[in-house]
Subunit: 739 residues, 2 copies
C-alpha cells in the first residue's frame, strides 16, 4: 500500500458542505481527520492547522487493536501508550517468580525487548469514503434485508481492501449510520515491551484515586513494533517537546475514543439508564466483590486476577458516572430538549417528516424488543454465561469451522476474511492461562446464567444437567486440552471435520449452547439490530438536513482529534489547579497499597526533581479508548500522555461540559525525568529526544489511569452492555459484549 | 397490663368515619386491626369478620422483634415462624462440630429446647390512639422544633407505658405522619428453639428459586416462649385446620409487613429509583460476590457466612424487583397520575391548597438535601463504613454512656428507656462472634468508606491514618476485648466513667468517628427528617380530606391483616396453578446444592405422602416482614405459613397488582406430614393438633423463602437504604440503615 497517502477528504457524497460551521465557543468534539474544524481552532486559539500537520499527526498516531490509543515516538518503531493499556501484555510476560507488573521492566538493549503474545498495533494509512457503495446495495430494502445486505457489502469491501495480513481494513460506520468510511491500517503484530514502571507508581492511588485529580500516576509504557524481526522504520513519528505542557497552552489529543452515545435517541438512552447500565453495574459490582476476595486466596491468585479486577473497578466507576449523568434531571433534560428540537424541525418540513419522521418510534420499538431479548442474547450469544478464555477458544474453533465454509456474505461478520489475522493472533496466543481463575470465572458465569435465565430454562437445563455450576466448570476446565496451543492450531487447521470429531469437554459444551445461541442471535439481529440500523441512517440524514455537517460523529474506536487547552476547573468552594508535581506523590504516599511508592522511587527520591510536573488536566473532549493518546502542542510535539478523565468527564459519554470535563495526562517531562533518573532507561531517553542533551533542564515527569483497554476475559466477565457503549472501550468484533 | 383488652377503635380524632368505604373489587391492603374493612370482605367473599375474631387473631399473632412475623399455635407458648426467620438463632446455637443449619434440630422433650441468644417475641395486647397528644406538642412549630418536640413526646409516651420489661411500647406513626398509635406488646425474651428442618429443605432451590413459584420449601421453624423458666401459658392461639388451604378458599394473613412506599411522594420515589436503590443494589452485589468467594475459604467460613450471604441475595432480588417496577413506564406512570390527581384535588379547594399545597415541593427540597447528605450520613452515622458486630457493640457502649445521662427528651430515640430491654438483649447476647468474618466485613466496609467519601475526606484520613483498611480492621478486631460479654457488661454498668477510661481499640475507633457522626446526624435530622415529617403530616391530612379514610397506611412493621384467596395467576402463555406437591420436590432434586434434598427426605421418601400439598399461592397483599405470618381461614385456623412473595410481588412495595402479585406459603398439611413422618416430632404434632388423631388424612407439607429478617450485621453490610424501605424488613431503631 501507499505510504502516507493523503486522506481522501470525503465523508459521504450526500454531504456537500465539508467545511464545518465552527463551534467556536467550545472545545467539544471528537473529530474525524477528514472533517476537522480547522477554522474553529484558528478562531478560538489562533493556531493554524493545515493538512500536512493533520497527515503527520494521523500517521504518528497508533491504535492498540484490543482497545487503546498510542503514538509512534521514534523513527525506529517506538510506541508510547499507558501502562494500563499494556497491562495484559506485561501480565502475560510474567511468571510467579518474576512478576513484571510488580517489578516493572526496563529493556537495557533491543535484544531484551519482550514479545507481547496478543498485542496488535495499527497505523491509520488512509480513509476512503464508501458510503455510496453501501447505499447502493441497501437502497429500498426492508429492515432485515437491509441489515443482511449491508453486512455482506462491508465484508466484501474489507476483503477487497485487505490484500495482505499487514493491512487491516475496517469499514467504520459514522454518525450511527449516515456515513461509511473505509479505514485502512498498517498492522503490526510483532510488538515488544521496552519499558514498564511498577504498577505501584503507574497506578498510584489505585481505584480510590481513579478518575480523580489531583493525581500522581506514571501511567506509561513503551513498546516497539517490529517488522521482519527488526524494529520497524517509520516515516512519521511525534517529536518530543522541550519542557512539555504549560498552563493555558493549546493541546490536541489524537486517539481512538471507543464509544459515545451522544447521538442515541431518547428511547435508547432511557434503556441504558433504566435497564442496561444498572444490570451491567450489578454484574461488575459482584465481579468486583468476588475477585477482591479471590485475590486473598494467595499471592499467585492476587497476581493473576489483578488486571481483571482493575478492569471491573475501572468500568464500574465509569458506568456509575454515566448512570449518574442520566439520572441527573438537568442533564437528562438537555438530552430530551435536543431530541424534541430536532423532531420539531423535522416535523415542520413535510418532506422530511415523511422521510424521517417515523424513525424515532421505530427505534423505540426495536429498543423494546432488545429489552425482551437481552438476557438470552447476552448470556448465550455474547457469552456472559460462559466467561472463560478456554471456552472462548472452543467457541472460536467450533464457529470458525462452520463459518469459514460459507461464502463471505453469509458468514458472521467476526469470521470475515479480513478479521482472521486478529482472531488467530488471539487463538494461537502463547499467553498463560490460569486454570484456577478459569474455573472461578466460569463458575461465576454459569451461576449467573442460571440466575438470569432461571433454573427451569431449557438451555440452562441442557447445560447444567444434574451438575452444579462449580462442578461443571471444574470438569470442563480440568478436562480440556485446549490450553495447548498446538491442539488449538490442529483443530483450526483440521477444520470442520476435526472439530466434529473432537471429544474435548469444552468443545462439547459449546456445541450444546450453539444452536440456541445462533437462534437468539438471529432474532436479535432481525428484531433489534436491523431496524435500529435502518432507522439510524434516517436519523443521520435528518440531522444532516436540519443541522448541516458541523457535528462530529459518535466515537467508534476510530482515529479522532480533539482540541483544548491546559486548564483546571472550579469545584464548589475550591479551584482545582491543572498541575501536580512529583513531590506531591511522596507527600501522598502512606506506604500501604494503593498509596505505596515502589522502591525505585523511595531510593531515588534525592535524584529526581520534585518540582517536575507530574500529571495535568486539559479541556480536551475524550472518552474510554483514548487511553494512551498523545497530548500534542501546536507544533505537533508530545507534551503529555492521556491516561484518564476526571470524574465529571464520565457523563461525557452522553454530552460534553467544558466547564468541568477534563482529560488527565502524564506530563512529558515526568516521563523523561523518571526514565533517566530512576529507571536507567537512557537508551529510551536518547531515542525520544535525540538532540536533547543540550536542552535538558530540571525536567519533570508523571503517571495515572483511564482504563479503556480490557482483557477479553475481563470484558466478558464484567460485561452487561456493549464494551463499546459502556466504558472500557474497544468493541472487538470477535468478542462482542452484552446489550 | 390487661389481657386481651379490646382494641381501642380509634386511629385519630381527626378521622371521623372509621368504617372504611369498602374497596370491594380488590384484595389490596395491609389493614390495621382497628380499621379493618369488614364490610368489603363480606361483600367480596361472603365472610363475616367480627371483633371477637379480630381480637383472637391479633392476640394469636406474634412478632419477632428483629424483623419477622409469627403466630402462637398452642396454649403452651409454641410459636410458628419461618426457618429463615429463626436462621440467626439456629446459627448462633451451632458450633463447627454441630451445624444445626445443616442438620436441622428436633427437640425431643421440652428440656431439649435451646434458648435463642437474641430473639424477642412480641404479642400485640392493645392499641391506643395518641394522635391528639402528639399534635398538641407539635402544633404550630417549624420543621426542626416540630421534629424535636415530636420525638420527645413519643419517648415520654413510651416511657409512661412501659412500666415493666415484660411490656414493650412503641408509638407507631401511620399514614406517614397523619396518625400516632401506641402499640402495647407483651414482650418475651426467653425464646427457645423446638424444631428446625435442614436448610436444604427449608430453602430448597436456594437463591435461584427465591421469589419464584412453583416452590418446594419447608420454610418452617417452631420456637417456644418461656415465662419464669417455664413455657408461657397463653389465652389465645390459633387452632390448626383440618386439611389446610383449598383452591379458591378465602385466606387472611396476619403479620407485620416491614415497610412499603405506596404513600411516598413522586420526589421520594424518584430518589429511590435513581439514587438510593441503585446504590444499595451495587453494595449488595459487591457483598454477594465477596461473601460467595469468602465461603470458599473453608467449611467453617461457609457455615458462618451463610445467613449473611442469604440476606444479601434475598435483599438484592427484592430490590431489583422494586427498581424494575419503578423503571417500568406504565407502573411509574400510574404513581405519577395518582399524585397529580391528588394535587389537583387539593389545588381545587383554596383552603386545602393553602394548608397542604406546598407540602409536595417542601418534601422535594428535603429530598435534594438527603441526596446531598446521604454519603456521610450513611457511612458515618448509619455505620455503613464500619460493619462489624463488635464495632456495633463499641458504638452502643460509647453512645449509651453519653445518652443515658441525658433527660429522655434530649436523648437519641434509640436510647430512650423503653428501647433498652431490646438493646441490652443484643449487647449482652452470648451469640458467637467470628473474628475472621468480623475482620472481613470491617475491611470491606472501611474500603467502601474510603471509596465513597474519598481518600482525602478528613474523617477518612482520621480513621485510616497510614493504615490500609485491612490493617486497621485486623488490628482493632484482634485487639478488642469486647467479645467477652462480661467486658461489655462491665462497661455498660460502669457508664461514662468506665467508657472514658477504656483503652479498647474499637472504643477508641468509634470515638474518632463519633463527633462527625453526630454532626452529620444533626444536619440530616434538621434538613431532611424534620421537613419530611412535618410535611408528611400535611400530606396525610390532604389525603384524608380528599379521599376519606378508606385507605390503609403504609407498612410500618406493625400488625396488619390482609385478605385474599387461594388462586394461581396467568403468565404469558401459561397458567400457574396454585399448589405444588411433596412429590414435586423429589422430581426437582438434582442432588447438588441448592437442589439437594436432605437425607431425612431421601430416606423417608416412602413414608411421606407425595400428594401432600407443599407450597401454595394466594392473592394476599404482603411485603417483607410478613415472613412467618400464618395463613388463616375464615374460622381463624392455620391453613398455611407465609414465607415468600412471587417475583411480581416485589413491585408491591410501591403498588399492588392483584392480577399477578401472590403470597407464597407452606401448606399446613406439609408441616404436619413432615413433622410426623420424617422428623419424629410427634410431640409437636400432638401439640398443634391435640384432637387430630381421628381427622388425620394423607396429609401434605411444604417450604421456601421471603426473607425479611436480616441479622444486624448482614443488614449493615448490605444496607444502602432503610432496611425498612428496602426489603428485608425490620427497622430496628438501634441499627438504622442507610438512606
Amino acid at each position: 500500500m501507499k505510504k502516507s497517502s493523503p486522506v481522501l477528504i470525503a465523508i459521504g457524497a450526500a454531504v456537500v458542505s465539508l467545511v464545518a460551521v465552527p463551534q467556536a465557543h467550545s472545545d467539544e468534539g471528537m473529530w474525524t481527520f477528514n472533517n476537522f474544524p480547522k477554522q474553529a481552532v484558528k478562531e478560538r486559539y489562533g493556531v493554524s492547522i493545515d493538512d500536512a500537520w493533520l497527515d503527520h499527526v494521523r500517521l504518528s498516531s497508533a491504535r492498540l487493536a484490543q482497545g487503546c490509543s498510542a503514538s509512534f515516538v521514534s523513527a525506529s518503531g517506538l510506541v508510547m501508550t499507558n501502562h494500563h493499556c499494556a497491562h495484559s501484555c506485561i501480565e502475560q510476560l510474567s511468571t510467579p517468580a518474576r512478576d513484571l507488573i510488580k517489578l516493572g521492566y526496563t529493556a537495557k538493549t533491543e535484544a531484551d525487548e519482550l514479545k507481547c503474545p496478543e498485542m496488535e498495533v495499527n497505523q491509520l494509512a488512509e480513509i476512503e469514503d464508501v458510503t455510496e457503495r453501501v447505499r447502493k446495495v441497501t437502497a429500498g430494502l426492508s429492515d432485515q434485508k437491509y441489515n443482511e445486505a449491508e453486512k455482506a457489502e462491508l465484508s466484501r469491501i474489507e476483503k477487497e481492501c485487505a490484500t495482505s495480513p499487514d493491512l487491516r481494513c475496517d469499514v467504520v460506520t459514522l454518525y450511527r449510520g449516515g456515513i461509511y468510511n473505509l479505514y485502512k491500517y498498517r498492522r503490526y503484530q510483532d510488538v515488544r515491551l521496552a519499558f514498564a514502571p511498577e504498577l505501584a507508581i503507574a497506578f498510584f492511588g489505585g481505584d480510590p484515586d481513579n478518575f480523580n485529580f489531583p493525581r500522581y500516576n506514571l501511567d506509561v509504557a513503551f513498546v516497539r513494533v517490529y517488522k521482519d524481526g527488526k524494529p520497524a522504520m517509520l516515516d512519521h513519528h511525534l517529536a518530543w517537546s522541550a519542557g512539555g505542557a504549560k498552563e493555558g497552552e493549546v493541546t490536541f489529543v489524537s486517539g481512538h475514543p471507543g464509544s459515545t452515545g451522544r447521538l442515541l435517541t431518547l428511547a435508547q438512552t432511557e434503556y441504558l439508564r433504566d435497564v442496561a447500565l444498572p444490570e451491567r453495574l450489578l454484574r461488575l459490582a459482584e465481579v468486583r466483590g468476588f475477585l477482591t476476595e479471590y485475590q486473598r486466596r494467595g499471592p499467585e491468585q492476587k497476581r493473576t486476577a489483578k488486571h481483571m479486577l482493575f478492569s471491573a473497578e475501572n468500568a464500574m466507576k465509569a458506568l456509575r458516572g454515566q448512570h449518574g449523568a442520566l439520572v441527573d434531571p438537568a442533564f437528562f433534560g438537555r438530552l430530551r430538549a435536543e431530541e424534541q428540537k430536532l423532531r420539531q424541525t423535522v416535523a415542520g418540513n413535510p418532506e422530511w417528516q415523511k422521510l424521517y419522521g417515523g424513525a424515532w418510534d421505530a427505534v423505540a420499538t426495536a429498543q423494546e424488543q432488545q429489552k425482551a431479548l437481552r438476557k438470552p442474547y447476552n448470556f448465550l450469544e455474547l457469552g456472559l454465561g460462559f466467561t472463560s478464555d478456554l471456552y472462548g477458544h472452543a467457541r472460536t474453533l467450533v464457529r470458525a469451522a462452520e463459518e469459514r465454509g460459507k461464502p463471505i456474505e453469509k458468514r458472521f461478520r467476526e469470521y470475515r476474511d479480513s478479521a482472521l489475522p486478529a482472531l488467530t493472533q488471539r487463538l494461537f496466543s502463547a499467553a498463560p492461562i490460569h486454570d484456577e481463575l478459569e474455573k472461578a470465572t466460569l463458575t461465576f458465569a454459569l451461576t449467573k446464567l442460571r440466575e438470569e435465565l432461571g433454573a427451569d430454562d431449557p438451555v440452562v437445563r441442557k447445560v447444567l444437567g444434574k451438575e452444579s455450576p462449580e462442578e461443571l466448570a471444574n470438569r470442563v476446565i480440568s478436562g480440556t486440552k485446549l490450553k495447548d496451543v498446538a491442539v488449538r492450531r490442529a483443530l483450526w487447521d483440521g477444520g470442520k471435520k476435526a472439530v466434529d470429531a473432537a471429544n474435548d469437554p469444552l468443545i462439547k459444551l459449546f456445541k450444546i449452547v450453539d444452536p440456541d445461541a445462533r437462534a437468539i442471535r438471529k432474532r436479535f439481529e432481525d428484531g433489534v439490530e436491523a431496524p435500529i440500523k435502518k432507522n439510524a441512517e434516517l436519523l443521520a440524514k435528518a440531522r444532516f438536513a436540519a443541522q448541516g455537517t458541523s457535528a462530529y460523529p459518535d466515537a467508534t474506536f476510530s482515529l479522532r482529534l480533539s482540541y483544548g487547552r491546559v486548564e483546571g476547573w472550579q469545584e464548589p468552594g475550591r479551584k482545582v489547579t491543572p498541575f501536580t508535581t512529583v513531590a506531591g506523590a511522596f507527600e501522598r504516599a502512606t506506604g500501604r497499597e494503593p498509596f505505596d511508592l515502589p522502591a525505585t522511587w523511595l531510593e531515588g527520591r534525592a535524584r529526581i526533581n520534585g518540582k517536575t510536573p507530574f500529571n495535568f488536566v486539559t479541556t480536551n473532549d475524550i472518552i474510554g479508548g483514548n487511553s494512551g493518546s498523545p497530548v500534542i502542542n501546536a507544533k505537533g510535539e508530545v507534551v503529555g500522555l492521556v491516561f484518564d478523565g476526571n470524574i465529571h468527564s464520565l457523563g461525557g459519554h452522553f454530552g460534553f461540559d467544558e466547564a468541568k470535563n477534563r482529560t488527565v495526562s502524564v506530563h512529558s517531562e515526568a516521563i523523561i525525568e523518571s526514565l533517566g533518573k530512576l529507571y536507567g532507561a537512557d537508551r529510551l531517553v536518547k531515542e525520544l529526544r535525540p538532540r536533547a542533551a543540550r536542552t535538558e533542564r530540571g525536567g519533570p515527569l508523571g503517571g495515572g489511569a483511564l482504563l479503556r483497554e480490557t482483557s477479553r476475559r475481563a470484558r466478558d466477565v464484567a460485561a452487561g452492555e456493549p464494551a463499546a457503549a459502556a466504558a472500557p472501550s474497544t468493541p472487538t468484533p470477535a468478542a462482542p459484549v452484552a446489550r
